[in-house]
């Protein structure tokens, strides 16, 4: 049902945890759907220097969370914002169709974290 890459990221998820004093935090998903993702990012000079995730969810939810952290680490904010849920799914060699909508939220969490960072900047 899942690709080898999904199973790899599910079994050995990268960048699990939470960054203390994060530059931005993104939390998406809901209990009805069964997936909740929390992504914390550290940003220095408009570059994402560190990223960590915590996820409650199925195999796809955990794998996409792990994959998005790999995709954005070291990336500039402009490039990071171009990453979509589809980019993440493709990087994992695809997801089962039923999972594409509900458990493919990692890029949403990333965008929420970047937005949180920008808001914090404005209020500073």
């Amino acid at each position: 049902m899942y690709s080898e890459k999904v199973m790899d990221h599910f079994s050995n998820p990268r960048n699990v945890g939470e960054i203390e004093e994060a530059s931005g935090t993104g939390m998406v998903g809901n209990p009805a759907c069964g997936d909740i993702m929390k992504l914390t990012i550290k940003i220095e000079n408009n570059v994402i220097t560190d990223v960590k995730f915590k996820t409650f969810g199925c195999g796809a939810a955990i794998a996409t969370s792990s994959m998005v952290t790999e995709l954005v680490k070291g990336k500039g904010l402009d490039d990071a914002e171009k990453i979509s849920n589809n980019t993440v799914a493709e990087a994992l060699d695809g997801l089962p169709p039923v999972k594409m909508h509900c458990s493919n939220l990692a890029a949403d969490a990333l965008h929420a974290a970047i937005e949180d960072y920008r808001k914090k900047l404005e209020t500073k």
């Binding site: 009805a32 069964g34 996820t55 409650f56």
Partner: protein
């Protein structure tokens, strides 16, 4: 890696005795049981012998048993068969919110045709309130259908009492006993049921064969029109080998019933006690006593069921989350949600359904490997922040 199967409510393996009984009906005795010649005669006798064995499992008469292709077909046959046969008398059907999709989808279909469906609520233990059932009955009620045992939690419904209520009011009563058959005694003479569904592959028989008990005098509109098979109640040449296998499986189920109940409840209790001892924030779903001996439905707070199943699968253990039929959807189990269990806990549920080949060693292996899996998944869960072991 050892392969361990804890998903017997989804399906069971065909046991050797059953398979061996079936083989001749693919090889030497391939005749059509409806034929009058030498090739068919022996097959007819074998089918009728098998029917008697399945009847013994329910304590009904051979005339009262219709072979079908599955539990789902039997459910469809019972519900649509009564709805169409009695539509001049009324259009109201009562069922529960926690039925198998074979019941719920059939009712939903009938609702589109103008039938009114009442879905009874269940309490936190998964049981219905008989007063609520009585209150739901109207002069137009033609059918009550309530499952014998829930497939996800194993919770047992008060079939005899429901049957009594239906009987006093002249309402037909059907029960889906697919999960109960072979796991607990069933005696239709004592239960006040008019219709009862069972399936071959849940009792170590083959897939593709089910049966519907229809009490003498209960008139059903056929679902499948065709030849005169099954006394004109179900057209189509009999699935002979399947029926033979079903008969053999029923014979073994009756023979081993007491032994299996003792074996399964011992293992199930060991599993639940062990997991609760080793892991915090673990909840067993369903009434603690009124349930099947083999089913443990357990919620592991802060983690999601499918990710637990994937971890278990990597260790060779097959279990399920909700029912196999709903695992293609993303909705949390409709059974657990109806019981008022929170969405997080419903998503964090795993069903272990045990069977005759399971051993104490297998249970102990599960109890050993489960705590680190849950701990790892919790360490990744944003819901777990603030909670410590």
């Amino acid at each position: 890696m050892n392969k361990i199967y804890f998903d017997h409510n989804a399906t069971t393996p065909v046991i050797d005795e059953v398979f061996e009984a079936m083989v001749p009906f693919y090889k030497e005795q391939w005749g059509n049981p409806s034929s009058i010649h030498w090739a068919g005669r022996g097959t007819r006798k074998a089918v009728e012998d098998a029917r008697e064995n399945v009847c013994k499992l329910l304590n009904c008469a051979p005339l009262e048993l219709i072979f079908t292709s599955s539990g789902t077909e039997s459910d469809n046959h019972a519900i649509k068969g009564i709805a169409y046969a009695k539509k001049d008398k009324g259009n109201h059907i009562i069922t529960t919110k926690v039925e198998h999709p074979a019941i719920l989808s059939t009712c939903k279909h009938l609702a589109k045709e103008g039938f009114e469906i009442t879905y009874l609520e269940v309490d936190k233990d998964g049981l219905i309130d008989l007063e609520q059932l009585k209150a739901a009955i109207t002069p137009k009620t033609i059918l009550i259908t309530v499952m014998f045992a829930n497939n996800e939690t194993g919770v047992l419904f008060p079939i005899k009492e429901i049957g009594q209520i239906a009987k006093e009011r002249g309402i037909t009563f059907h029960t889906d006993a697919v999960q109960a058959a072979g796991k607990i005694p069933i005696n239709v003479q004592e239960l006040n049921v008019d219709l009862l569904t069972i399936s071959g592959h849940k009792i170590y028989g083959p897939k593709g064969v089910g049966a519907l008990f229809a009490k003498r005098g209960v008139r059903l509109t056929p679902l499948i029109h065709g030849g005169h098979q099954e006394r004109n109640r179900r057209g189509g040449t009999e699935n002979v080998a399947g029926i033979i296998g079903f008969g053999k499986a029923a014979e073994i189920a009756i023979r081993d019933l007491d032994k299996e109940i003792a074996h399964l409840s011992m293992l199930r209790n060991r599993l639940e006690t062990g997991l609760k001892e080793k892991i915090q924030h673990v909840y067993v779903n369903g009434h603690p006593e009124k349930r099947l001996p083999n089913t443990a439905n357990i919620s592991f707070e802060f983690v999601e069921g499918e990710s637990l199943l994937l971890n278990l699968d990597m260790k060779g253990i097959a279990a399920s989350s909700g029912s196999a039929c709903t695992s293609g959807s993303l909705e949390p189990s409709h059974v657990l949600v109806a019981m008022g269990i929170s969405l997080e806990l419903a998503h964090g549920s795993v069903r272990f359904s045990l069977g005759k080949s399971n051993t104490v060693e297998e249970i102990d292996y599960l109890i050993e490997i489960m705590p680190p899996i849950v701990e790892r998944m919790r360490s990744m869960s944003p819901l777990f922040a603030g909670h410590k072991f």
